[in-house]
Symmetry: C2
């Protein structure tokens, strides 16, 4: 295989991370091994000295992100690529209290588009869950580690990363460090002549920018490939002439129509926001996340970002962390930014997220399973009867916050299908059923 | 630059890690910026979004390991390459007690080969120290963070890694899992036809194997380059036909003379020992270190290893950890394997290290600054009046254990000169002076 082909294979995961939340077209018809059959521990990936040839996963040829090996890799991302820590500091972690409810597994719901009910427990298999925690009233009521995820391991958060970037953005807005009405070029002059130049920070936060940026990875000319090539930490092929980092790529994005009219889920918005955050704080986003949230939250483990060849963290999809720390973060959002006796995030930032985005703009994006939703500060707002909102990443990563039920569900997963449309029918009604179950508990 | 040249530049750090402990020839005459002038924080490496072009360090072109940028990189290794965690688990760390002694900075000693005395404080500048902790009777009596090292950061341990591999080896010997009298081929049949096939495990542990393995990196045909190429995590250049991992490389090492007669400091011995450890425990060495030591030691942070393209940790030089955890490990060795109320390492393993190796075999290696020393279980034994012994890594990494003075000195450093010969004149007499100072304290 040619060097440049190898290089492009290794990009696959970067493009998958950035895939849109739901695309009906992405509903692949391939038959995959089910969750038990593809259990990454039973399959013995990377076990042995050396592992058998057919159990070695590599970055350079993209094998590490091909199903079913991908089920192992999502819990071992930094073994394949350079990464930068989000330090938790050195203090003790704050243990989450537990009040485990055994009957959660038996809670039933009807998957979207189906008529036969399914139990919560069955849904975990269906969605290839690697780990799930349900918090209710601040306590863990359900906890399960599956797949290749260990309690002291970290899992790829994929596009859940975007909601972290958005939360930091909303935080800096609430603090007055970022003015959402300003144009992006005000903060990042390098973006003046790009599509982002005359977009407002608010449009970036809510992804209502209008960009020539296709995330259709079946099209070899799609911009997502150029973006991924720029961000790939491997040395560029010698015939490569494009941008060599995220910061070199973003100024090349061009405009398509008018900003502010329609929701368009494009990863580059998160990277532009990450850039603004880095510029105004004069720190890399991993340091900002560490200092402002991770060190204060009582987390158990450092988190980490993948980085490009110049060390820039991938603010659009590169974050990894432990399951219980994901639960801590979800609980922080549910509790309006308050945890461990301090207001870690300004309440105004959480209020701004909960307020939701422009429903009409969202509708134009055509998510058939997400009727009535909106998008705000890089969070997905369900606008359901419980006021639930969520962070969502490909292959099934989620932080689902239900204020009315005082519930947070966090899940890591490794569904062979990237698009959330594969998991949503077995997830969204399941979350709501658990919420109602918990509300009825009293 | 050609792809393959880029690839070879990126190997430089791997070969530097593996450099011998001291070589008179390696005393380069180049003039370098001194420690203050090369302060990596003042120089502003990798600061900015993006950093200025002349402040960006990259893996692919080797710039990350060129002085003075290297002073930043040693505290940020995983931002340049894939790595695997050594988990500390999720429990609370065990804080080290402090009894800081202010007068240590003023302790004087006479550098080897000089007549004018120097203070301890001055020696830290001279050796480009990035962090130093001195333990006395189990308490921190001196602690300093310099360079780019943060309290919640990790620093490259370079060949100090070997002493960790050796300690695990001695542990498994004490437990009877490894028989040091057995030939290596007994455990690793793949090595039967290599130089290691008829070497005993003891000869590997004490590096008295006789190998065709030059670590002279000024010679482009030296075996160290082939070893580094095999272990480089980057995709191999398309004209590359050699071994593609550590485990593929090691069987190619050929014999040179007779084993057991002379000490020969060759990194591949540590990688062979790492392989044996992995084979008998059926785990990767990062897991062995985690389960048997790191999780029990009350460490504050996860450690990590660099890995090759197939995920094998670099047992000869790839370990990174925090300064206080390095002190915990040194104290564990001083305390004969006992810490936190439990016998973590068998006392017999520490006894075996302290017993020292064959002085005559050591003498043949010709280390002019290390007269009377020996090498055992991948530790350097001074055989001085205090029975001191140490772990040593290029650019100035050290764990110095002085049983008589009940003292441990740990140091991370980034001396522009790799070989320990550059630091030894300002280090070895300094350690002994501190030991005598502490002994006199009572």
């Amino acid at each position: 295989m040619k060097q440049s082909s190898l290089y492009h294979r290794s990009l696959l995961f970067l493009s998958l991370i950035t895939l849109g939340c739901y695309s009906a077209n992405a509903q692949e018809k391939t038959t995959f091994l089910n969750a038990q059959e593809s259990d990454p521990i039973k399959m013995g990936w990377m076990v042995g000295s050396p592992p058998p040839a057919n159990r070695i996963l590599r970055f350079e040829d993209g094998s590490f992100f091909q199903f079913p090996g991908m089920r192992w890799s999502v819990a071992h991302m930094r073994e394949f690529m350079p990464t930068v820590n989000v330090s938790r500091g050195l203090g003790n972690s704050v243990l989450l209290q537990k009040n485990l409810l055994k009957d959660i597994d038996a809670v039933t719901f009807t998957p979207l588009g189906e008529s036969k009910p399914m139990t919560w427990e069955e849904s975990l298999q269906k969605t290839y869950a690697d780990g799930v925690v349900i918090m209710h009233k601040g306590k863990i009521v359900y906890e399960k580690y599956m797949g290749a995820l260990q309690e002291d391991g970290q899992h790829a958060a994929m596009s859940v990363t975007k909601s972290f970037t958005g939360t930091l953005g909303a935080m800096l807005v609430a603090e007055g460090l970022i003015d959402p009405a300003q144009n992006v070029a005000h903060y990042i002059p390098e973006l003046k002549n790009s599509a982002f130049g005359d977009a407002t920070v608010r449009q970036v936060l809510d992804m209502t920018t209008s960009l020539n940026f296709s995330e259709d990875y079946t099209n070899p000319n799609a911009e997502i490939w150029k973006f991924s090539a720029a961000g790939n930490p491997l040395p560029k092929p010698k015939d490569y002439t494009g941008p060599k980092s995220y910061y070199e790529y973003l100024p090349t994005v061009t405009k398509k129509g008018k900003h502010g009219e329609a929701f368009g889920y494009k990863t580059v918005n998160s990277d532009v926001l990450g850039w603004i955050i880095a510029r105004v704080t004069k720190k890399h986003i991993n340091e900002v996340l560490s200092e402002r949230i991770w060190k204060k939250l009582g987390t158990e483990q450092d988190a980490y970002y993948s980085v490009d060849a110049t060390g820039t963290p991938f603010a659009g999809g590169g974050l990894n962390f432990g399951l219980s720390d994901m639960a801590r973060f979800g609980q922080l959002i549910l509790d309006n930014g308050y945890a461990n006796g301090q207001q870690i995030l300004p309440k105004a930032a959480i209020d701004d997220i909960k307020k939701g985005g422009d429903k009409k703009a969202f509708e134009k994006a055509g998510y058939t399973l997400l009727k009535g939703w909106s998008y705000r500060d890089m969070w997905w707002i369900t606008n359901n009867e419980h006021g639930a909102f969520c962070a969502r990443g490909v292959h099934g990563q989620v932080i689902y916050v239900d204020p009315k039920a005082e519930m947070v569900i966090v899940r890591f997963a490794s569904n062979p299908i990237a698009a959330n449309g594969a998991n949503d029918p077995f997830s969204l009604p399941a979350y709501h059923a658990i919420a109602k179950f918990l509300l009825a508990k009293k």
